[in-house]
Structure formats: structure tokens, C-alpha cells
């Protein structure tokens, strides 16, 4: 039997930009607005905006999710994933269309939301449980289980503000994971805690998914989505681009990332420039140090990553992160953690170069995220600024297969073998 758990019809959410819209308004602006003729501002059923500059965070979305389906929502930042979850969890109302939701909805939230630092672990379990929609009786029933899962028995009566961050993360996840709503919304919360706890929480999520509960997942970790979901929905700028088995949806997403990387970086609008306009990332590439094609390198060979920017400003730093094709970070290079071997020269041109003596990556496709800082502020950031392929090579005089090895890196090493 496959009942429908969620069905949306032309669902849309519009935000208004500009002074009259989102963000902080002041009474003065409002008074001025009133003087300009928009009377009834304080009494209107919706706070109307002076500006008509609007943005659709979500537009014309019609999907049906059956009971028991585990669906991954995929997309860039600002693609509308969180907006959809917010509408479904009733935090905000849609501007257009409607959604029918059958059953109790619960959200797994960012860690610590709803915790009060002054309350003890015990008090917080009850408070947080109630916030997440559990009855007191339910919480009491599952109390021991929660405490067990979080591994905080000894600190039950200690205020949460004295917890280590690991402890509060575990407690928050434990409470949320023991929710029993018919529909569970999960927004990027699994990447918390130490590795052992991550494995445990992933196991818990797996269990939840197998229990026949409907789950909507948002994560940037494509490996987790692939492992947990059956179906993937790809959103881009508020619109649905794909609704397919999760593998296909992820491929479609990677396709959009590559398309974004191949366009002129200066034209990209999904950048994290924090409102600064002093310098922008112009071009990013990785190249064999001795020559060869851009964006195709061989494992074990020296490689150079080059980031070109439009302008040189004081105290510039650069941070690069390489991700594998499943969206898992493999390695970060950060110039702020300086080494005596680093060279900073005036007049070298507006570019950073990061030289890796011997590229220790396994064959496969990778992407580079770039963050440029200056004057101690983040000036510009781009996800998926470049893609590159690593060809099989030789690391530490040892060849590698083109595929079949687990992991992401290969390190030089020596064996001692019997006979």
C-alpha cells in the first residue's frame, strides 16, 4: 500500500528584496513608507513592501512523495531546498499553491537549536523533545534510550553550557533521532560529532529510513544522500530540474556544477562575496608543474593550482578545498597557516599559486572550492570553481590501478613481506 505522504501543487515562495522587504526594518522607514501612501502598513494582513523587487525562493513545485519514501533534496546554496522544508514544517507560509501533508511532521534541526544553556541535560531533553513535537509521556518513555544514545549519563544534571561541544551535539541528535513523526525532515545535520558518532547517527538514520517512515533529506554530502535515499529531487534557483532515482539526480547535479565551472567565473552569481566588491576570483585551474593540459593531472606528479583574482588588496590569503565526486572534502590548503617556505612577493601579479610536490590523489574526478580573503575578511568564494581529472600514476615508485581502490588518497609507503 503506498499512501501519499506529501503532495505539493504549484508551490511557490516569494521574498521581497530591498529596504522595504526582508531584513531589518525600522519604524522610520515604515513612517516614511506610510507618508508615501502605503497606509495600513502595520495593520495589513501581510507586511507589504514598498519595493516590488522580488525573488522566488521556490517556484511552481509540484511533487508527490509516497509514504515510506526517502527523498534527497539536492542543489546549490539558495536553490530552495531549505525553503521547501520550511514550508512543509509550517514555519513559513507559501505565497503560491499548496501542499497537503499527511501525518505528523518532525524536523531534525541544526544542533543545539532549542537548547537552553542554563538548563541541565535532563531539563533540556524535555524542553527539546516538546519543541520537536513529542508528548511528555513519549519523552518519559524514551528517556533512558535517549540518554544511552547520547552517552551523557554522568552529566544529566549538569547545565548544558558546561558540556563540551561534542556532548551537546550528541544530546541534540539523540533527542531528535528518537522522534517518531510520520514524516521526518532532515536539514544537513549529520556532519556533526566525531567519526564514531557520525557512523552511529548515520546508522540511526538508516534504521529510521528502513522503518517505513517518510524522510526528506537535505545534505551537501552526496555520499550520504546516495547511501540513504531512493529518490533525488534537484532544485536550481527555486525550480525543480530533476526528479529521479537518487543516482541520476546526483549526476544531474554534478552536471550543473560542471556547467557552472565552465562559464566565466566572473559571471557567476552564486558567489560568497559577503557584499564586498574589492576583488573577485577570475580563474582557477590545476596543471602539471612541468606542463600539460589544464585540469588533467597525474597522480604522484607535481601539480600547481592557480587562482587568479581581479585585484590585489592588502593581506590577501587563499583557501582551497578539494572535493571528490561525491561531494566529500578530501583536502584543504590554507595560506593563512603559513610555512617559512611560502613566498609572498609584491608585483607578482594578481594570482595565488599552490604547489603540491607529489599529488597524492587516487584517479577520479575532483572539484576545487576557493575562498579568497583580504583585510581579514572573506572577499570572494566560489564552490566548484574548477573540475579536474586525476589519471593513474606512480606514487613513491609504486603504480596504482585506474580504479578499484577505496578512499581518496594514496601515500608513499614501503612493505616488509614474508618469504
Amino acid at each position: 500500500m503506498s499512501d501519499i505522504a506529501i503532495s505539493t501543487h504549484g508551490l511557490g515562495k516569494r521574498y521581497t528584496l530591498g529596504t522595504g522587504g526582508r531584513g531589518y526594518g525600522t519604524l522610520r522607514e515604515s513612517v516614511v513608507g506610510t507618508a508615501k501612501g502605503s497606509l495600513g502598513r502595520l495593520t495589513g494582513s501581510r507586511w507589504p513592501a514598498v519595493d516590488t523587487d522580488t525573488i522566488w525562493a521556490l517556484r511552481d513545485l509540484s511533487i508527490t512523495v509516497n509514504t515510506g519514501e526517502v527523498v534527497g533534496l539536492i542543489g546549490h546554496n539558495g536553490a530552495g531546498k531549505s525553503t521547501l522544508l520550511k514550508i512543509l514544517s509550517r514555519i513559513t507560509e507559501p505565497s503560491d499553491g499548496w501542499a497537503d501533508v499527511t501525518g505528523r511532521i518532525g524536523s531534525l534541526l541544526e544542533v543545539g537549536t532549542g537548547f537552553h544553556p542554563e538548563l541541565t541535560g535532563r531539563e533540556n531533553i524535555f524542553l527539546n523533545g516538546a519543541i520537536l513535537g513529542m508528548r511528555r509521556s513519549e519523552i518519559r518513555q524514551r528517556f533512558d534510550e535517549i540518554v544511552d544514545f547520547a552517552e551523557i549519563e554522568r552529566f544529566l544534571d549538569t547545565p548544558v553550557k558546561r558540556y563540551s561541544s561534542g556532548m551537546s551535539v550528541r544530546l541534540a541528535f539523540a533527542v531528535a533521532a528518537h522522534l517518531e513523526p510520520e514524516i521526518l525532515l532532515v536539514d544537513e545535520v549529520l556532519a556533526v560529532g566525531d567519526a564514531a558518532f557520525q557512523r552511529k547517527s548515520l546508522g540511526k538514520m538508516n534504521e529510521v529510513a528502513r522503518e517505513g517512515r517518510t524522510v526528506l533529506f537535505v545534505s551537501h554530502n552526496l555520499a550520504i544522500l546516495q547511501a540513504l535515499c531512493d529518490r533525488g529531487i534537484l532544485l536550481e534557483r527555486g525550480e525543480m530540474m530533476a526528479d529521479a532515482p537518487v543516482g541520476e539526480a546526483i549526476d544531474a547535479y554534478l552536471g550543473t556544477l560542471e556547467r557552472a565551472a565552465s562559464t566565466d567565473l566572473l559571471e557567476r552569481t552564486d558567489r560568497d562575496s559577503r557584499g564586498y566588491d574589492d576583488t573577485h576570483i577570475r580563474h582557477v585551474e590545476i596543471r602539471d608543474a612541468v606542463g600539460g593540459h589544464a585540469d588533467a593531472v597525474v597522480a604522484g606528479r607535481p601539480a600547481t593550482i592557480t587562482v587568479e583574482v581581479t585585484e590585489v588588496i592588502p593581506m590577501m590569503e587563499c583557501q582551497l578545498t578539494i572535493y571528490n565526486s561525491l561531494g566529500q572534502a578530501v583536502v584543504t590548503f590554507d595560506s593563512e597557516m603559513s610555512s617559512p617556505a611560502d613566498v609572498r612577493e609584491a608585483g607578482a601579479g594578481p594570482r595565488f599559486q599552490c604547489e603540491v610536490g607529489s599529488l597524492p590523489l587516487l584517479p577520479g574526478r575532483y572539484r576545487i572550492d576557493v575562498l579568497v580573503k583580504g583585510k581579514r575578511q572573506i572577499q570572494d568564494g566560489l564552490q566548484a570553481a574548477a573540475f579536474f581529472d586525476v589519471e593513474p600514476g606512480v606514487v613513491g615508485d609504486r603504480p596504482m590501478p585506474a580504479s578499484g581502490w577505496d578512499g581518496n588518497v594514496v601515500l608513499p609507503h614501503v612493505w616488509r613481506l614474508p618469504g
Partner: protein, 287 residues
């Protein structure tokens, strides 16, 4: 035994209901008793949290509930009662002012904490759905604990002065209800405006000062001539404060003040909740 055959298995969990989420208008949330009842556990937890947290990590703890009105009583007695010689309906000035300060302190604190309640819980408001009215209402409910403590002190002081509260003391719960209605209405509206306009944060402390002097706390309302005296009771705290003096100290029954204030408090309540309800749905977009 019956011979009934086994009926086919019924639909699993038939009580699961479908909710339609869409843009709404008009009054739908605050005034929906079903919704409030469904979230009753959360209401309880929020109020309990506000009570527990209120005096955590303070050296004097719940003594603050008493120190505030008593401190004001001492200062007011010295300056208004002593130096300025303000009339006090023939009562010791300390008693006269304390009987007013007990409800007033509750009112002022509720206004202060309640109007900030949504903004200071913005993480919750922007991430979880629940009837938002619980936030200001929880702050007020937590204040009731303080009010109870300071009422005990008030009666103790009355007895120390050798007075016995008159029969009118039975009116006290009615006065408290009037005060609750007024403060819930005002706090709901202010907390909602605060979501959009943080100016409220700066207006409140100032407004409370003005409101204190618009209320017969340091002076008796008998100083004002009729019909103005009755008219001032549009400020619901006028009826409450004078009512408290009547109920606890046995001054003349200010029935017309209480009546006007009761009506005014209901207007406060209805208007405040109505405004809250209208703007509640967009809190998460603005907070």
C-alpha cells in the same frame, strides 16, 4: 462467544490526518483552541523553562522577586512620602506604595521580558512551528511565580503594620485576571512589532517609566478630579492598582475605576491578539 468472522484488517493508523499548507488570511492560528491544545506540552515546557532560567546563576535567586518592589517601596517612601510629602489616603506611605508596586512590578517585568520573547528565541521561531503566542505568554506565566512570592510579602508587611485585610481581599483574583488580560494583549502586540521593528526594544524601558507615572503608584488617584479620575482608568493598571489598595488595605472601593479598566483590558487583549494573529504567519520571514 460470538460467531463473528474475522474482519479484514483495518487501515493502519486511521487517525493520521492531512493538513493543507497554503497562504492563509484572517484569524486562524492564535485563536484556534485546537491548535493551542495540540501544543499544550510545549506551552508547559516553555513556561517551565522561563521559570527555571529566570534566577539561575544569580546569587540571590528568587529573592529578586521581593527585592524589586520592596526596594522601590523604600525609595518611594523616602522621596515621595517623606521629602515631597505626597498624600497616601491616610495610610503609611510604605504600605500605600507597596500595595501598588506588587502588581506594577509584575506588569512592568512582563512587558519588558514578554516583548523581547520572540526575538530572543529567534532560533526557535525561524526553525520550528508552534503557536507563537506561547513565547510572550510563557514569559508572563513565569512572572506569576514572582507575583505569588511578592503577594506573600505584601500580606506579611500588612500584618506587621497591624492591619487586617478586609473582605474585599476576595476580589484580588479578579484584579489579577484583569491585569493578565491587559498585559497579554499589550505584550503580544509589542513582541510582534518587535519582530519587524527592533525599535521596540528601545521604546519599552522608556514607555514603562512614563506608564508608571500615568498610574497611581506613587500618588493616590484621589488627587485627580472627576471626571478625569474615572477617565484615567482607560489605563488598565489604574483600576488594578487602586483595586489592590482596596482589596489589601481597605481603602474606598474604586468600583468605577475597576469597571472601566476591565473593559479597557478586554480591548487590549482582543486588539493585541488580533494583531498578533494577523502578522504571526510571517514572523519567520522577518525575524
Amino acid at each position: 462467544m460470538t460467531t463473528e468472522t474475522v474482519s479484514p484488517p483495518s487501515e493502519p493508523s486511521p487517525r493520521v490526518e492531512t493538513t493543507r499548507l497554503q497562504a492563509t488570511s484572517g484569524f486562524s492560528r492564535v485563536l484556534s483552541p485546537r491548535e493551542l491544545w495540540r501544543y499544550r506540552d510545549l506551552a508547559y515546557q516553555i513556561a517551565a523553562r522561563d521559570v527555571t532560567v529566570r534566577y539561575r546563576q544569580t546569587a540571590l535567586g528568587a529573592a529578586w522577586a521581593v527585592l524589586q518592589p520592596v526596594g522601590f517601596m523604600i525609595v518611594f517612601s523616602l522621596f515621595f512620602g517623606g521629602v515631597a510629602g505626597v498624600e497616601s489616603d491616610g495610610l503609611p506611605y510604605a504600605l500605600f506604595s507597596l500595595a501598588a508596586l506588587v502588581p506594577w512590578t509584575f506588569f512592568a517585568n512582563s512587558l519588558l521580558l514578554g516583548s523581547e520573547s520572540l526575538v530572543s528565541n529567534s532560533a526557535l521561531v525561524s526553525k520550528i512551528y508552534f503557536p507563537r503566542i506561547f513565547m510572550p505568554a510563557g514569559a508572563i506565566a513565569a512572572g506569576l511565580v514572582d507575583l505569588s512570592i511578592s503577594l506573600v510579602i505584601l500580606f506579611a508587611v500588612v500584618l506587621i503594620y497591624g492591619l487586617v485585610p478586609p473582605l474585599a481581599v476576595l476580589v484580588l483574583p479578579v484584579l489579577i485576571v484583569i491585569m493578565l488580560a491587559a498585559v497579554l494583549g499589550a505584550t503580544a502586540a509589542l513582541s510582534a512589532i518587535n519582530v519587524r521593528y527592533r525599535d521596540v526594544k528601545y521604546v519599552i524601558p522608556f514607555a514603562i517609566q512614563l506608564w508608571l507615572f500615568a498610574t497611581p503608584v506613587v500618588y493616590p488617584s484621589s488627587l485627580i478630579d472627576e471626571p478625569w479620575r474615572t477617565l484615567t482608568a482607560i489605563n488598565p493598571m489604574v483600576g488594578v492598582v487602586e483595586g489592590f489598595r482596596w482589596a489589601v488595605l481597605g481603602t474606598d472601593a474604586p468600583l468605577e475605576l475597576i469597571g472601566v479598566s476591565a473593559v479597557s483590558a478586554i480591548v487590549f487583549l482582543v486588539a493585541g491578539l488580533a494583531y498578533f494573529d494577523r502578522v504571526e504567519r510571517s514572523f519567520a520571514d522577518y525575524i
